[in-house]
């Protein structure tokens, strides 16, 4: 019996067949079946660039805009879940209230996918220093740091507002606020390395494109993709 991190009810985690015979340690589920089902997986027809679910078509309207702005150099983003109300509630509890332990729920949602990826560098999107002091943790690194080895190459300037508090137009107009943290040691091969940018939610793409711009200005040969749990 375990207690679900979200609904606090006791539940019995399902036992997988492979688990019985495997010598490996399996991650124990942190949330119950019912709560897990509240999170909607991205399925069916999806945007080939950013993974957004669509009725029809190959590229979503957001990505078409980025295609214009960046002359075709779009950022490929993998996402796993739809940003529905259950996810919204989870993110409010995790980020706004600062319920640190909920990072384990986000890990549960992304662990299987992320641990199978093979990139040279995993770079988390940073949070503003002010928020971090208040929360006493970094929301993105706290989730992904246990799954892959992180290279926190990006830093964020003070005084930038949270994206979550803005509407779509304001989000798109947000100026660049990332810079390269020069104190981080890097190896030679980063110039042409394969990099995965890590964020929690992809809404307009503004944040992740800024992060890529910042990296590209310093390392033009870098191959950059991104990952967000939600789209």
């Amino acid at each position: 019996m375990r207690q679900c991190l979200l609904c606090e009810q006791e539940f019995i985690p399902p036992i997988k067949f492979a688990q019985i015979f495997s010598l490996k340690n399996f991650r124990q589920p942190k949330i119950c079946f019912h709560c897990l089902n509240q999170f909607e997986k991205l399925t069916g027809n999806r945007c080939s660039v950013c993974s957004k679910m669509m009725e029809q078509g190959i590229i979503c309207s957001d990505c078409k805009k980025w295609q214009k702005i960046y002359q075709g150099e779009v950022l490929h983003n993998s996402a796993l879940y739809r940003y529905n109300s259950a996810f919204h509630d989870l993110m409010v509890a995790y980020k706004r209230r600062g319920d640190y332990v909920l990072r384990e729920v986000l890990q549960e949602l992304s662990w299987d996918y992320l641990s199978k990826t093979e990139f040279d560098y995993y770079i988390p999107v940073p949070t503003s220093p002010g928020h971090q002091v208040k929360r006493q943790f970094d929301t993105i690194s706290a989730v992904y740091g246990d799954i892959v080895s992180l290279t926190p190459l990006l830093a964020k300037k003070e005084g930038s507002h949270a994206q979550g508090e803005k509407n779509k137009e304001e989000r798109l107009k947000t100026p660049q606020s990332f810079f390269i943290d020069k104190t981080i040691k890097i190896k030679e091969n980063i110039q042409t390395g394969k990099v995965l940018l890590l964020d929690d939610i992809y809404t307009t793409g503004r944040t992740l494109y800024h992060a890529r711009d910042c990296l590209k200005s310093r390392f033009p040969g870098m191959h950059i993709e991104s990952f967000s749990i939600c789209r």
Binding site: G98, D99, Y100, Q136, F137
Partner: protein
Amino acid sequence: MEDLTLLSGRQWIINQKDSSTLEDCSKVPVIENGLCNRCGSKVECKLPSGKLYCRACIGLGRANEGDILVRCQNASQFSKLPNGGMTWNGQLTTLQQKISDNLVLNFKQKKSSLVHAVTGAGKTEMLFQLIAECMKNGKRACIATPRIDVVNELFPRFEAAFAEIEIGKYHGREYQEPNLDQLTICTTHQLLKFYEAFDLLVIDEVDSFPYVGNDQLHFAAKNAVKKDGVRVYLTATPTEDLLEEVKQGKIEILKLNRRFHGGLLPVPREKLFIKPFLNKKGQIHANLLAEVKKVVKSEHPLLIFVPRIEQIPIYLAALKKKLKDNNVKIVGVHAQDSQRIEKVAAFRERKYDILLTTTILERGVTFKNVWVIIVAADDPIYTAASLVQIAGRVGRAKEDKTGLVLYCYHRYTKNIRSSIKQIKGMNK
């Protein structure tokens, strides 16, 4: 220095580095010995720094180990109005008056009470003279209840009854600046923000979710009342822990076994089902349908309770299909429904014949002449208290004192038996 008069009786968290002078305030560490001093919960989760934080009351702002809980304890001053600011001049029945007098007497003697009154006894009116007594002495009172709906229903009634008193209304769905009110009406969750604030704390519907069995809210209720303050509990179905306190002589039980109109409580009829209420094709059980049709024919509005929100649309579709020839208007309502208030109001005005719902409408609501069917009364979601409350929706009007309460079940449960025993017991 800040003016703290409006925060009298409240508690809040400040950072360790915050050095503002707070007069008449006591300070305690918010996390102490692995327990949260604000909500009493055990604290187990840690931040990366290794410091503990409380998850249980995180909705009020995170309490971190090392933070300070400030409790404002300056003496609040209220004017002593001769009649306690009461503008109500209605009439109580003899039985109601007896309870009301007892409450006033117990308050004067600083004795806590438990009012065990049947559903539809008119509990709110019995509180008026008690509140007036408290206000008259310039003292502070709070009426707390677990349900937001009940707060919203109580507030206008007290506003009308105490036109000369400033009343505060607080619950989690609407933001309200903290104010110093002589009378506060709020949810039991809001009590977490108070410390030794009230001379009188009334908790209405003590047996209902989420207060019942919730240690955090019991802790809050204990802390919110002054050391020499008086507690009053109101319920139609007292819980074991309260009855235990009665036995130990800590609180006095006041019983009211008659509804204000003098009629008996309708005793539920039970009906055993062998096959499922809905078969695999989504068709409704013929006997259940027959019962629904009987009510429709009698021209009473019908409340149908189902255990889970997800089942509402399924039953709704099944019933609509079967009853479409009878020209019956059906609607479903649940806790997250954005049109909840409108739908309930429309049902009250008889714009619908049948309302499908869950336990959210089990208490605090009155529909004239309504009859009730509980589908799957054996479901664990229905406690004995819930069942008594649901049955209590029927026969509340003076002109129509009886009616149908039907339990449909597959398995006769302890809760079904206990609820019927309680209802019969109150009718004796």
